[in-house]
């Protein structure tokens, strides 16, 4: 059974376009033409790289939520 999908969001106001997330989790996040990150797909499979990207964002613009329960999965610690 595959793990439950997650929803990735990027706060477009906070994002300062470091590109760290796109480099860390290229399947899930990409840098848009305006220099802000955007999710590649509306939902994604959870992964270590995605969690890492959300934890590493210099301005905490990324949030990873459980697609059905809405629980915040990353960043948390």
């Amino acid at each position: 059974m595959s793990p439950d999908p997650v929803v990735v969001t990027v706060d477009q106001t906070r994002c300062i376009g470091s590109g760290l997330c796109a480099r860390t989790a290229p399947d899930a996040l990409a840098l848009g033409p305006n220099g802000r990150a955007i999710p590649v797909h509306p939902t994604a499979a959870p992964s270590h790289t995605l969690t890492e990207a959300a934890e590493m964002c210099p301005v905490e613009a990324i949030a990873v939520h459980h697609a059905t329960t809405g629980e915040l999965l990353a960043p948390i610690w």
């Binding site: 106001t13 906070r14 300062i16 376009g17 470091s18 590109g19 760290l20 480099r23 860390t24 840098l31 305006n34 220099g35 802000r36 934890e55 590493m56 964002c57 210099p58 301005v59 905490e60 960043p75 610690w77």
Partner: protein, 403 residues
């Protein structure tokens, strides 16, 4: 005390406080020249600056390539090709990822009690010393070095020497090229010894965790690790001291007396005011460069202008921070939220690593000073301020205050 940069010659015109500097109206990219004569495209609109700083078509590594035109008149630490700031793409991300974890908003938040303790100590000592006092010597200058020293566990080491080195490392004209080279060499040796010592004998401090993270990830050279370590000491020194000193020149103006009280009564007011001050009070006169420098590694179109490969751009965050397309015009409301992030800490891959630490130092510094001394005022007229000018910065050499 370290010897700070030489003050103005006595016959010089008084310099205006930084918050009174005129900034160029944001507009399309325009051509200008660096003090070395090198032509440069200056970007001044918020959208253009943001886009350029985040664009992979512009880099910092090629600013120092053999074919690069001259950028500064004297050597300085920002030219160090091993530094994080002067690497691009995957090389840069490799180093940046090693340190980023220690500098996310949450990671910094965990240090709040430490920073708070350092600030209270300095403010209480200042208040106990009696009126009048020099707030630069007592607070704005020692604060950043004390904080980073505590995070790196450099206590017991010679903090004055650290201050002396970082003064030189960022100087433009205050020291000779030889003096600067010597200081940078000594400082690098110190950094290298520190890296070696913490690898052998790791603790809970920032240097130990950097060394461990670098060794685990691999691919970070000893040179880069050293450069990073001393880079953090300097970054904690000059920028924060400058912002803090200039924020005080601004806030201690009698017309802001109410704002000063509010900053002391309410920490969240201090947080908001810090953001607005960081946005509106520039760090320096930008005489050595009209903005954050990048070099085009491909032809790139920005703001309707084609910047050709090899050209130098300067991103003028000071103008962009006043762009009427993004921020309200007219007098600054110190307590309103910013909306769009200001470009004071840059943007893109090199966005200031220490941004959250700097914010915390400033907000706690302003808050506790205004809380303990709500009637604080400048002891001498603003025109009499002696200024310290660095590579990118200008701030009061001393600032006498009374209460």
């Amino acid at each position: 005390m370290t010897t700070a940069a030489h003050p103005e010659a006595p016959d010089a015109q008084p310099l205006v406080p930084l918050h009174c500097l005129l900034h160029a109206e944001p507009g399309p990219p325009r051509q200008a020249a660096l003090p070395t004569g090198t032509p440069v495209w200056v970007l001044s609109r918020h959208a253009d600056v943001r886009q350029a700083l985040a664009h992979p078509g512009f880099g910092r590594a090629t600013l120092h390539a053999p074919d690069a035109p001259p950028l500064t008149l004297t050597p300085n630490i920002l030219d160090d090709p091993a530094s994080m700031l002067n690497s691009d793409g995957p090389d840069h991300q490799q180093i940046r990822r090693t340190v980023q974890r220690a500098f996310t908003p949450r990671a910094i938040e965990r240090w709040r009690p430490w920073v708070d303790g350092v600030v209270r100590e300095l403010v209480d000592e200042l208040a106990a010393s009696g009126s009048p006092a020099d707030v630069v010597a007592a607070l704005t200058k020692p604060l950043p070095v004390r904080v980073i020293s505590r995070l790196m566990e450099l206590e017991g080491l010679d903090i004055d020497r650290l201050g002396h080195w970082s003064d030189h490392a960022l100087s433009t004209t205050a020291y000779t090229a030889d003096e600067i080279r010597t200081a940078i060499r000594e400082f690098s040796e110190f950094g290298y010894q520190l890296v070696v010592a913490r690898r052998e004998n790791p603790g809970e401090d920032l240097v130990s965790s950097l060394v461990q993270a670098a060794d685990q990830t691999g691919g970070v050279t000893e040179e880069q690790l050293t450069s990073l370590t001393i880079g953090l000491v300097i970054a904690g020194h000059e920028t924060t001291m400058t912002s803090f000193g200039n924020a005080l020149v601004y806030l201690l103006d009698p017309q802001h007396a109410d704002a000063w009280r509010r900053v002391g009564e309410d920490l969240s007011a201090a947080t908001a005011a810090t953001e607005q001050i960081l946005r509106t009070v520039p760090l320096g006169d930008r005489t050595s460069a009209p903005g954050l420098l990048r070099r085009a590694v491909a032809d790139v179109e920005i703001g309707g202008v084609l910047i050709p490969e090899g050209a130098i751009i300067a991103c003028d965050a000071g103008s962009a921070n006043h762009d009427p397309a993004v921020y309200p015009t007219g007098p600054t409301d110190l307590f309103s939220p910013l909306g769009a992030p200001s470009l004071t800490f840059g943007a893109g891959p090199h966005h200031c690593l220490g941004a959250w630490l700097a914010r915390m130092e400033l907000e706690l510094g302003l808050h506790h000073l205004a809380r303990v001394l709500p009637d604080l005022r400048l002891a001498a007229p603003v025109e009499d301020i002696a200024w310290r000018t660095g590579l990118l910065t200008r701030s009061p050499l001393r600032l006498d205050v009374a209460w």
